[in-house]
């Protein structure tokens, strides 16, 4: 599917200074790598930034296809390791400074998702720099990676901690089309597609511009460091697809019923077609049509008879749903740049093969950290906001013993035995600096 929105208006944002990943849609298919680097020597860290700066792509002409691009983001520990002055460090928000592991409480990352079970290097305080390469073909991916690796090679004082390749056709390991619903950023020049809703104020996604409050959100100092930057939330999930398949198998007897239940959990059929538009059966043509795939809201479905109130996409973006608690859905939007890794598993497989597969969930935005903390505590691991009590998100929550999922109807159906289908393996809060901030940081 063609994921690119067209640029139909003149952009008012400083696109040359903003990193490409903020506005550039992920291609289909896609290839790439996330590399995590530790800085053990301040001078070497700055040297690496100087070398990488020319490779980091800007958001200029984000609407034109590009074979590959690179993104760079830095954790708080990374800013410390780079020797950023104390008053600048203190100008960053408290949750970013604490880091994701320290915020486990707020994120409801407990039990198997708790930081003490995370994979290295997550939670160690050593994940300083994240370098991501995205590409639309294998050759350019390898080429761009080689360019970055050359810069890293002979530098003592920086160390590669992890290197994770990813790639997919646009469908995640559960078999759902994923990653296409995105907010429209005001001032980017993007043409809103049907159902996108009004453009959201640029300051919600890029620091230094008016946000939904009318004012810019707080920004780190000095100005050159903060402006045109944004925050990134990186969360690596391992997916238990066989467990998911077994849940469908245990609770539906025909393939048709299994696919309907699968759609009720997410709010979309595997093709991407929303239940809101095709409630009875999948319509792959809708799933492949960017002008139809998001062309809905929930105004005419207050009880969730088509799209359950507790389904993943209705929780994560309630659109016009009347919520039980006062919430502004326009400040809870995130730009998603998640990437899928490992082999997908087909619905007939019911036993786990132990292979590594899942999703690197990546959220961008000026409020990305606040928002993921908000989503995790209020909209993922609780059902209160839509009157569902303690029921949780069926795809990404940590399910308690005896948990169930409700499919609204007359009568509603309680589907028992739901498990945690994704386990957190680690993650970090990062700052994605503007291109000029990278130069400033390089000193």
């Amino acid at each position: 599917m063609e994921l690119f929105r067209r640029r139909t208006r003149r952009p008012t944002l400083d696109l040359d200074d903003i990193q490409a990943t903020v506005l550039r849609a992920r291609p289909e298919p896609y290839f790439g790598t996330h590399a995590i680097i530790e800085i053990t020597d301040q001078a070497a860290g700055r040297q690496l930034l100087r070398r990488l700066a020319p490779l980091v792509s800007s958001a200029a002409r984000w609407d034109e296809p590009r074979s590959s691009w690179m993104a760079l983001a830095i954790s708080y520990a990374g800013l410390v390791a780079l020797g950023v002055p104390q008053d600048s460090l203190e100008s960053f928000p408290a949750n970013f400074r604490a880091g994701m592991a320290a915020r486990a409480d707020r994120l409801r990352d407990t039990g198997p998702n708790a930081p003490q079970h995370w994979e290295a290097p997550w939670g160690s305080g050593r994940a300083h720099l994240a370098v991501s390469v995205y590409a639309d073909n294998e050759d350019d991916w390898r080429g761009t990676m080689a360019g970055y690796e050359r810069q890293l090679q002979d530098l003592a004082g920086v160390r590669l901690l992890s290197h994770q390749d990813f790639g997919a056709t646009g469908f995640n390991v559960f078999g759902y089309r994923d990653g296409f619903s995105q907010p429209v950023v005001e001032g980017s020049g993007a043409e809103p597609l049907p159902g996108d809703g009004r453009p959201i104020k640029a300051g919600e996604f890029v620091l230094g511009y008016p946000s939904e409050t009318g004012q810019p959100l707080p920004m780190p100092t000095p100005d050159v460091l903060g402006r045109n930057g944004t925050y990134v939330v990186f969360r690596k999930y391992h997916s238990h697809v066989a467990t998911f398949n077994r849940y469908l198998r245990d609770n539906a007897s025909t393939e048709e019923d299994r696919e309907l239940l699968a759609a009720k959990l997410v709010g979309r059929w595997r093709s991407g077609a929303p239940l809101a538009l095709t409630p009875e059966q999948d319509d792959p043509a809708v799933g492949a049509d960017p002008r139809r795939i998001n062309d809905f809201d929930y105004t005419d479905d207050p009880r969730g008879l088509r799209t359950p109130l507790g389904s993943h996409i209705r929780r994560m973006n309630p659109r016009s749903t009347k919520l039980e608690t006062l919430s502004d859905v326009n400040i809870r939007r995130i730009i998603r740049r998640s990437t899928s890794f490992g082999e997908p598993v087909v619905p007939t497989v019911l036993t786990a093969d132990g292979a590594d597969r899942g999703l690197d969930f990546i959220a961008l935005g000026a409020r990305a950290i606040d928002n993921v903390e908000f989503l995790q505590s209020e909209w993922v691991n609780s059902g209160n906001f839509v009157g569902l009590g303690k029921e949780k998100d069926p795809m990404i929550s940590l399910q308690d013993k005896g948990a169930y999922f409700t499919v609204p109807g007359s009568p509603p159906r309680r589907v028992h035995g739901i498990q945690s289908f994704n386990t957190l393996r680690g993650g970090e809060y990062l700052f994605m600096p503007s291109l000029s901030a990278i130069h400033w940081l390089a000193g």
Binding site: P93, E212, T213, G214, Q215, L217, P218, L323, E324, T325, L326, S327, D328, N330, I331, R367, D370, E373, F374, S377, E378, S382, N384, F385, G387, G389
Partner: protein, 202 residues
Amino acid sequence: MGEHDIQTRFQELPAAVREKVDTVLTDAKIAVKLKIAEILADPAEHAEHAVTTAGRVGAKSGEVSELTAIMPLKPNGAERLRKFFTLVGGNLAGAGQVGTLHNMRFVFLDNDTKLLFATAYDGEWDPYIDDFATKIPEFMDYLFGNVEGWPGITSPAVKDFITQHQIPAEAWFVSHPNITVAEANRLKRQDAAVQTFVDALN
């Protein structure tokens, strides 16, 4: 119940509980000791009302948290607020739209120089401040703008400001700790449906 019966019942409780009560409440009458020991010895009752912390400051029982803050008022702050409270007859019905507020009260202290604000609400307040800042900013600033030093609801300092004035409760009881406002609304709707159904049967 005579003193002797009370003593007997007290002695029947687990020794560990009796010991704890005896050492802490040295000067309490045996009837008080019995009542408290019985509650401590009932794990289900005790667990349902367990008190945890609500975000940064405050106590939480089940889903319901408390917030108590005493804040200095600007000159004439009490006068302005009182005018508004009088106009609405002390009725803050519109606050229902927040959907997480069980109750709240505004009390003037020390000759109208301070405001006591106390509320019981669901979950944590901290995550919702951002929503107040875009959904009801004028109202938040109208009410709390009378407080000395109020930074404004959209200010990044507002969460710290509230926290600084918050006084955590030392004890906290909620009769239905797991019934949120949203849950109560759902139960009311459900009851209405049941009542209609029963009426139709008769």
